[in-house]
Symmetry: C2
Subunit: 416 residues, 2 copies
């Protein structure tokens, strides 16, 4: 969590962190959002300076037109316009990269930053590569580019009680959307096993997604996309659904929704539904997935490596004859994804419960936020393609106890 | 436009382009979206290989769970799972960066890529820096990191007729949202110069933004945020508005909306409104802004440098006693932003109409998409803070003629 930053910086001998926030990245730049929060700062950079043993000071270099949004962040403000970039560009004979480097040299000098400075945040890989090389070449600072488990990721990997409360609130709002969507589906009449709109046309995935988006937005959630996949598409874990597919009875619907809520924090919840009735083979697979889900939830702890929870689910599925990615990494049916992943300001964050060896060995720790999402997928089943997945969210609280943040019921069949 | 890629690559002696598409960036990674379009591919990489004098082949390295979304792109598919990353990680003794580099070495070898390879797309600056350095160190290819006007930006800087049609459609949908918002405001009763909700509380910026979001989403637009700023906030160009501000008569409202529409292409439109009536000084400034707007629109051509259009607007505003950023780069009132900018898959793209010397000298060209957005801002006017801006969008068609894509009326006063 953020309070870990001073000791993480000390342990890695870093004098400062720079988190870039170039224009156009918005919430996709989670490391930057981590510092600017709910404010509408669209461009800038955060600088975290280590001061003494256990303290930091944080600055925001901001665009003058965003000075009031910048002030809402509570960070110390550095107005970029005060450095008069046009004059620097002229001094550098029109070389804009050199001018950028000079601007940073002046900013660092003004707030007393030097030594080992680590860089984070999102940008275009070509220009950021040139920028970091130029900073080194010009001796502005010692440029550090951490690889795995960098300081910002390590801090973000555990969530404090405030962050957990926001994620819990996002879960609550997301469940309201899921419930409203189920009600919406049930409100339709059925003809030839197909849900019908009032205008006499079949209800489609596109119609349902439009309803979901409007509900989400109405509750203040920010949602670029979600998965609402029926039948064969439900059998492809990351198919987001085919817009023109009609909504029919007895087909599996995988509804996976991961919107941003208060403070920019996501939820990540999946329910599988069969409208009206479920075929026996689907019902059986669903019960096995629930068994895997409950088994994992009961097993969660802070001492085992996270891959062990996934291995146990592979054991269970394989014992019931389902292929897994552990047996065949490229399998396209059975169980081919990981058991879950951390999330927060991004939908996918460490820790992950993947195959042993695929990711660095990780353990849960107090503050971990993680989802639990076993599933089984048979897109090419001759009886009709299908897939089932159930996903709930958890916080490992500061006492090391796992709290489930989601409560939505897990009934497969939605009576029509 | 995309058809320029072969000759751009030849002119720069590039054998291949790699556009990375790491997880979590979505539409913020416009260079990647440029190739995957409307498909829901969330992670992968595009490779463009030059074949002979005037042809390219494009590949998508994709996650197996997204194989059907990947197929919708029309690119040649390379299933990442077929490279069995877990085995490579094991061969590299758990060094994931080395394993990544080895995976790329194998992909390049399989499709016959070597020589000068340029890299693009969004990612985290620390890990992408390490990745590009490792590719070089291991001799996988000659890594090229273009700086200004890179191949992808140069291609994207001009839009073909299909892209222009999509942007025109986004403009049409956006104008429907603007019109609905004006109707929504007008539907409220007024008490003490304040718009009142049915529940007896004042209508707020947050209420209006919720309405705007729902309208946008209902029309299939994707919108993370917009500017709806009243009074003093309207006087700060990039203030997005204060949620609790009440909507009152006679205050300037700057409504700047830039959603994503069909194919991921944005519009960018601003209207300024005063509900009921406008103070004289606001009306006068607004008319001057319209004059600047019309003057710029009439002047647009493909022979002058783009900064000249902005300089002419500075001349006009200064002649009327308004300070500009040309006189004082850090001014917080008057006219302190550029006259406009290109847009497309991102809200801000080249070319820009900025101060002379601030950006590379640019000219409009057939295919340019650009907005025209002069404004005047006085957040601390003792009569009450205010700001006005009008923004329309244009396509320089393939005959070099400028077509305005926006039609929404520019009336300042909204009768209540």
């Amino acid at each position: 969590m953020k309070s870990d930053l001073p000791h993480l910086m000390r342990a890695r001998n870093l004098d400062a962190l720079v988190i870039v926030g170039p224009d156009g990245f918005g919430p996709a730049n989670a490391p930057f959002t981590y510092f600017i929060g709910d404010s509408h700062v669209t461009t800038g950079a955060v600088i975290v300076k280590r001061c003494g043993e256990n303290a930091t000071e944080a600055y925001l270099v901001h665009n003058p037109m965003e000075r009031e949004e910048a002030a809402k962040t509570g960070l110390q403000l550095i107005n970029k316009a005060s450095y008069k970039l046009p004059e620097i560009i002229q001094q550098k004979n029109g070389d804009r990269l050199a001018a950028d480097v000079e601007l940073w040299r002046r900013v660092f000098s003004d707030i007393g930053i030097g030594g080992r400075v680590a860089f984070y945040g999102a940008d275009y890989i070509n220009t950021s590569f040139n920028f970091l090389n130029a900073l080194m070449r010009e001796g502005v600072c010692e440029v550090v580019t951490e690889q795995e488990n960098d300081v910002i990721s390590a801090a973000r990997a555990t969530k404090d009680a405030d962050e957990a409360a926001r994620i819990r609130e996002t879960c609550r709002l997301t469940e309201a959307v899921i419930g409203a969507t189920r009600d919406f589906l049930r409100s339709h009449r059925v003809a030839n096993e197909t849900l019908m709109r009032a205008d006499g046309d079949p209800l489609t995935v596109a119609d349902v997604k439009r309803f979901i988006r409007r509900e989400a937005v109405g509750l203040g959630l920010d949602m670029h996309d979600c998965i609402f996949a029926i039948g064969r598409d439900a059998g492809i874990p990351h198919s987001s659904g085919t817009p023109n597919d009609p909504i029919m009875l007895g087909r599996t619907i995988v509804f996976d929704i991961f919107p941003r809520g208060p403070g920019g924090y996501h939820s990540d919840i999946t329910r599988t539904w069969c409208l009206g009735y479920a075929p026996d083979h689907v019902q059986q697979a669903y019960e096995l997935v629930l068994q895997a889900h409950d088994m994992a939830e009961a097993a969660f702890n802070t001492t085992d490596f996270t891959y062990t929870f996934n291995e146990a689910v592979c054991d269970l599925f394989e014992a019931h004859g389902h292929p897994t990615a552990r047996q065949n990494y490229a399998t396209t049916y059975g169980y081919m994804h990981g058991l879950g992943h951390g999330f927060g300001l991004a939908v996918h964050e460490p820790p992950s419960m993947s195959l042993k060896g695929l990711r660095p060995d990780e353990k849960f720790q107090p503050g971990t936020i993680v989802c639990n999402e076993p599933g089984l997928y048979y897109p090419d089943d001759p009886r009709g393609g299908w897939g089932v997945r159930v996903e709930d969210d958890y916080w490992c609280n500061l006492d090391g106890r796992f709290e489930r943040l989601t409560e939505f019921d897990r009934a497969l069949v939605v009576p029509m």
